[in-house]
């Protein structure tokens, strides 16, 4: 009775394997470890048409990228996109990246100040490990009709919004709360004792604030669902998420917090055992062209380090961006300096305790 079915399944599995192996044996592939939206299908198709190289996209986040590359000693992917502040510590601890050969990159496509900043921040042992790609901030996503007075991170703890706010249980939240409480965690980066004092205060605040939280969000889509369905009214989130919801729900806005939005730059970095280095450089040069960069901005919700990339972005997108970031708010952005090795262990403990608190 079950035999014909098993044969069918077996046949399907076999043909699928054949198809897969045939596929990988054919064209050159670039295995890209990146964030959701950074390699939209359209761009991947255009790249394939121009160079003949297939791009295999794996969506991830900073921690997973480091863990994945650590597990294999930097193999399994040909190009990764960690944030600039997370490169030197990962390199110091696990030796998973390879220096970038800047001569193979058309640096004239990139905004000069951003390139220089990233070069400086990803410098390890005198070598550059990253070039900038997409930048953005962690800011507040607020439903302005339901929570009009949320202006800063600490306002998320307002009892008025109990059970109606969300943030991540990740290091940006700790940093944001520290700034909002009037401390400067970046200035204490190289003083572990002082940093621990800051963390202790943040820990107490986060535990106190916990009843307000509906759920700690873990992925951009989950957060967008929460705010779109009115299940939450305010959140600390990536600016791009708020802009995305804004397109269909105008009362939801991304607001630059008074303590300052936290600025990140996601980079291109070469895993140590990359097998398609040339393809990786080709991809970098391809996506940094202004028009392609604009397509990525549309998909990811954030702007890129490509020169003139914003010129090709739709008017609507530019408008929400300018509304969130008037010039003063841009100057107030706190850019992440490189994280010294060891700090993340301390932060991990704090997050464990907050998670366990009742």
């Amino acid at each position: 009775m079950f035999k014909p079915k098993t044969n069918l399944i077996l046949g399907a599995v076999l043909s699928a394997t054949v198809a897969l192996t045939a596929n990988t044996a054919g064209a050159e592939t670039l295995r890209l470890l990146t964030w959701g939206g950074y390699a939209p299908e359209k761009v991947v198709d255009m790249f394939k048409a121009e160079t003949g190289i297939d791009v295999e996209v794996t969506n991830s986040n900073n921690e997973e990228m480091i863990s994945k590359l650590r597990a294999t000693g930097g193999a399994g992917f040909d190009l990764a996109q960690p944030s600039q502040d997370r490169i030197t510590s990962a390199q110091a601890e696990y030796d998973i990246y390879k220096p970038i050969d800047l001569s193979k990159i058309d640096t004239s496509l990139m905004i000069g100040s951003m390139l220089e900043g990233t070069k400086k921040n990803t410098m390890f042992d005198g070598k550059v490990y990253g070039v900038p790609h997409v930048w953005g901030t962690s800011a507040l996503t607020v439903n302005t009709t339901k929570a009009p007075d949320v202006k800063d991170y600490l306002d998320l703890c307002n009892p008025k919004y109990a059970g109606k706010v969300s943030y991540r249980m990740k290091r940006p939240t700790l940093i944001a709360f520290a700034f909002s409480m009037g401390m400067d965690p970046f200035a204490a980066y190289n003083d572990k004792a002082k940093y621990q004092q800051i963390l202790d205060k943040v820990q107490a605040k986060l535990i106190e604030c916990k009843p307000n939280v509906k759920a700690y969000w873990t992925g951009g889509d989950a957060l967008i669902n929460l705010i779109r369905s009115d299940e939450i009214v305010a959140a600390m989130a990536w600016d791009g998420s708020g802009w995305k919801v804004n397109a269909e729900k105008p009362e939801v806005k991304t607001i630059a917090p008074t303590a300052g939005a936290l600025g990140w730059i996601d980079t291109f970095a070469l895993p140590k055992k990359t097998k398609a280095e040339d393809a990786a450089y080709k991809w970098i040069n391809f996506v940094m062209q202004p028009k392609i960069a604009a397509m990525i901005t549309e998909a990811a919700g954030n702007f890129t380090a490509a020169k003139d990339g914003d010129k090709y972005v739709t008017e609507a997108k530019r408008k929400v961006y300018q509304e969130t970031f008037p010039p003063a708010a841009i100057d107030n952005i706190k850019w992440y300096p490189p994280v010294p090795a060891g700090l993340e262990d301390m932060e991990g403990k704090v997050m464990d305790r907050v998670q366990a608190a009742r």
Binding site: S67, E93, K170, V213, Y216, E344, D345, G348, D352, Q355
Partner: protein, 287 residues
């Protein structure tokens, strides 16, 4: 003599695949993991032998509390699964005949045709504040505001029991199937009532099925990751999630590996204790 070596060679060749499987996929990874759990990072890229990771588990209340919570909730989920699955299995095995029987049995299987992730998302769509149940309650008039049913321990239990049902029903149906109806009738003839027949005849006969079902469900629940994390929200602390966090987001493989071994040891201990209490042996129930 020649015969002896060739049989031995044959035996070895027959065993080779399973040996390779066991060593490459079970013994080696565990040995490696064990070594990782026995070291401590002293400086970037330098590690030293130490038992600090195991000590950490016992000295930091957070970790062993999470473990205790996970174990207790798993035991509760197992008990609830048994309570729900037993009548269902009895009905399928003893009350039904023919096509209806296979049909109902198949119905238990159907949810497993989609992945656990999809099933869990299904629960989320049903239970979330803007979800199906909440809207139905408001429409019927049972609630006048959206009701949040996600993100608490009860929801985790529902999810866990739902996920484990099949693994309890299958062994129970198999053992109950082999129970001769005549024995049940004899029980009644000898003056037993429904309760005494259940206690003296049905349950003792089904014991191997109950125990093996419980072991499987308990292990699955204890090692579950998706359900508690997705349905549980901010207070859901599940030990497997703790291991994931240590490995992936804290980059602390050493502590994660130690937790993995503690989970293995403690769950084995609980199963062993369970067998002792019910006076069953592993060979009896699994064989």
């Amino acid at each position: 003599m020649t015969l002896g070596t060739s049989t031995r060679l044959g035996l070895f060749l027959l065993l080779a695949p399973i040996l390779v499987w066991l060593i490459a996929l079970l013994v080696l990874p565990h040995a490696d993991m064990f070594l990782v759990s026995m070291r401590e990072k002293v400086a970037p890229r330098t590690y030293e032998f130490s038992l600090a990771n195991y000590a950490e588990f016992f000295t930091e209340p957070l970790y062993w509390r999470t473990f205790a919570r996970t174990a207790i909730m798993s035991i509760a989920a197992t008990a609830m699964t048994l309570l729900i699955a037993f009548p269902v299995s009895y009905y399928i095995a003893k009350m039904l005949r023919g096509r209806l029987k296979s049909f109902l049995f198949l119905l238990c299987l159907v949810p497993f045709w989609v992945s656990e992730l999809v099933r869990t998302f299904g629960w989320m769509i049903l239970l979330r504040e803007s979800g199906v149940f909440s809207n139905v309650f408001q429409w019927v008039g049972l609630a006048d505001a959206p009701v949040e049913m996600l993100y608490n321990d009860a929801t985790i239990m529902v999810g866990l029991v739902y996920t484990s049902m099949l693994f309890m029903v299958v062994p129970l149906v198999t053992t109950l199937d082999s129970l001769d109806d005549a024995q049940v009738e004899a029980g009644y003839d000898l003056g037993g009532n429904a309760f005494t027949v259940l206690r003296e005849i049905i349950v003792p006969h089904a014991m191997p099925g109950i125990v093996s079902g419980c072991i499987v469900v308990f292990m699955l629940t204890l090692g579950n990751y998706l359900t508690p994390v997705l349905l549980g929200g901010k207070d859901s602390l599940w030990f497997t999630a703790q291991i994931y966090t240590q490995f992936i987001t804290r980059f602390n493989w050493e502590l994660g590996a130690a937790f993995g071994f503690l989970l293995l040891a403690l769950s084995s201990l609980i199963v062993w204790a369970g067998l002792k209490v019910t006076r069953q042996t592993l060979t009896e129930t699994m064989g």
